[in-house]
Amino acid sequence: MITDRITSFLGVAPLLLLVAVGLSIMLIDAFSKDRSGLALTTAMSLFAAAAISGAIAVRGDLVAPAQITRYLAVDQLGLFFDVVICAGAGLSALLAGGYLKEHGLERGEFYVLLIFTAFGAMVLARAVDLLSIFLGLETMSLGAYALVAYRRTSARAVEGAVKYFLLGSFAAAILLFGSALLYGATGHTDLAGIRDAVGSGAADPVLTILALVMILVSLAFKVGAVPFHMWVPDSYEGAVTPVTTFMSVAVKAAAFAVLVRVLAGAFGDEVSMDLFTGWTPVIVILAVVTMAWGNLAALAQSSVKRMLAYSSVAHAGYVLVGLAATYELGPTAVSAVLYYVAAYTVSNVLAFGSLVLMGSKGKEAVSYEDLAGAGRRHPAAAAPFVVGVLSLLGMPPTAGFFGKYYVFSAAVQAGMTWLAVLGVLASAVGAYYYLKVIVYLFMREPAEDAPIAVPMRSYYVAAALLLSGYYVLRMGVTPGRYLDFAISAATTFLG
């Protein structure tokens, strides 16, 4: 039956939808000079993909031909990340619709690249084979390099792209060599086969450990964990702000997805996870240095955009705390990681989106000084900024509070109370630079001769802020629904 054939692809419908939309936009852009609807089309398609993923997850139509599931998982975990990535990308597209128009940068290829990069991120988040991990990572990364270099006449953008590209490709080469070693050690490229070979002790131990180290290093690059974070502040600052938003939410979420799949999936046996001989201590150390350095470096910044870049490094550290607790708690810890990633996505869109809103043509808001007094002159424009930074800080009743709560309580339950205490201390350091934004917004006046920032007027940016603001508060007041999705994704993945 033809309908059976079609419904048997339901599990990958979000991916197919994005490819279709991306190709259509390329065609439309080739024949039409009118670009006013592109941002809205892109955003609506991405939201539709997110909605479809959510619907599939609720209905449980986890079907796809075996040829697909061999390379791309059709499971709750993949669908969870579909929703997060598509929502993050869609909100970034809305921000771009306002930002690019205001600054005279709008070109059709931006939205095509955004869609295909989101596609790469979704492939990466679903990848269950070393080959599809590599391909997803490269699709996502190549798109992201091009997006960072999008404002190609700006020295800062191109410099950020050069640093991102060189270090990113270096990391990809390390990942590839590690994957090849893992194939040699186990004789398999699929994560399930690797898991069996590693768990049964059939794998060559030296090669396996070397492969795991190389894969961990390259994925730590991709999530921006210290000491592999040097590209983060430069490329985040160089890119146009909607791209920075997209990278800090969708690209980072996909990198965490593959980290979960590789570590808790392929290396999820007791020996590989052990607190002394496995990967857990490595993740603990990464989490500690990432939280500490990310927060301290953010303190020293005078640019709000660069501060948010370092804060995204710090947040990667909090997520790693949850991952470190997996060896003891299993699904509970993974669900905390998932919830954190989702909460961070909406909070970060809100913060970066407010930064976009605060600037207008010829005067982009970048530094703290640019924000001085803006809150008193334009309270409506400053309100989302306040909610966004409070959520990043982890204040109730926002999404960020429950994100931090679940992650740290997972660490405590796993017997790593000291790690949770360190995390809370690091967040307290974060309070200084997050609250500094609010202080500048409401309690400072701009210097005498400084140009006064005027917020832009854009329905797109307003819509992105309303949507992300709504979900920041919704996930902060009634987290149950979203946590349930995270728990079912984590349980079906590990159970």
């Binding site: 070393l130 080959l131 590599f134 391909l135 490269e138 190549l142 390099y145 091009a146 270099a149 190609r152 006449t153 700006s154 020295a155 800062r156 191109v158 410099e159 950020g160 792209a161 050069v162 640093k163 590209f165 060189l166 490709s169 270096f170 990809a172 080469a173 390390i174 590839l176 060599f177 994957s179 090849a180 070693l181 194939y183 040699g184 004789g187 398999h188 490229t189 502040p233 430069d234 600052e237 160089g238 020293a300 910044q301 005078s302 640019s303 660069r306």
Partner: protein
């Protein structure tokens, strides 16, 4: 002589590529060093596939690596050109605009 010789050769080539990437400051040569690293991984994949000849997994992987290397070179060289247009240099040591 067996598969081990290929393994040793691949790790030497990977090492040469990594040293080139980390010590050179010329973007083009850094990019070529990355190509060396991808090539060394291909040697590994093919050698391991020769050790597990039941299927073509390693060779299929290497096939896609070659395609990805081409894509990466295209984007990388485009970024180098854009950088050269703006800054009139291709040395990463002079890429110091973005510091605090």
């Amino acid at each position: 002589m067996g598969i081990g010789a290929y393994l040793a050769l691949a790790s030497v080539l990977f090492g040469i590529g990594a040293v080139g990437f980390l010590t050179r400051r010329n973007m083009l040569i850094q990019l070529m060093s990355i190509e060396l690293m991808l090539n060394s991984a291909n040697v590994l994949l093919l050698a391991f596939n020769r050790a597990y000849p039941g299927n073509h997994d390693g060779q299929v992987f290497a096939f896609f690596v070659i395609a990805v290397a081409a894509a990466e070179a295209a984007v990388g060289l485009a970024i180098v050109i854009a950088y050269y247009r703006v800054r009139k240099t291709i040395e990463t040591d002079r890429a110091t605009l973005l510091r605090y």
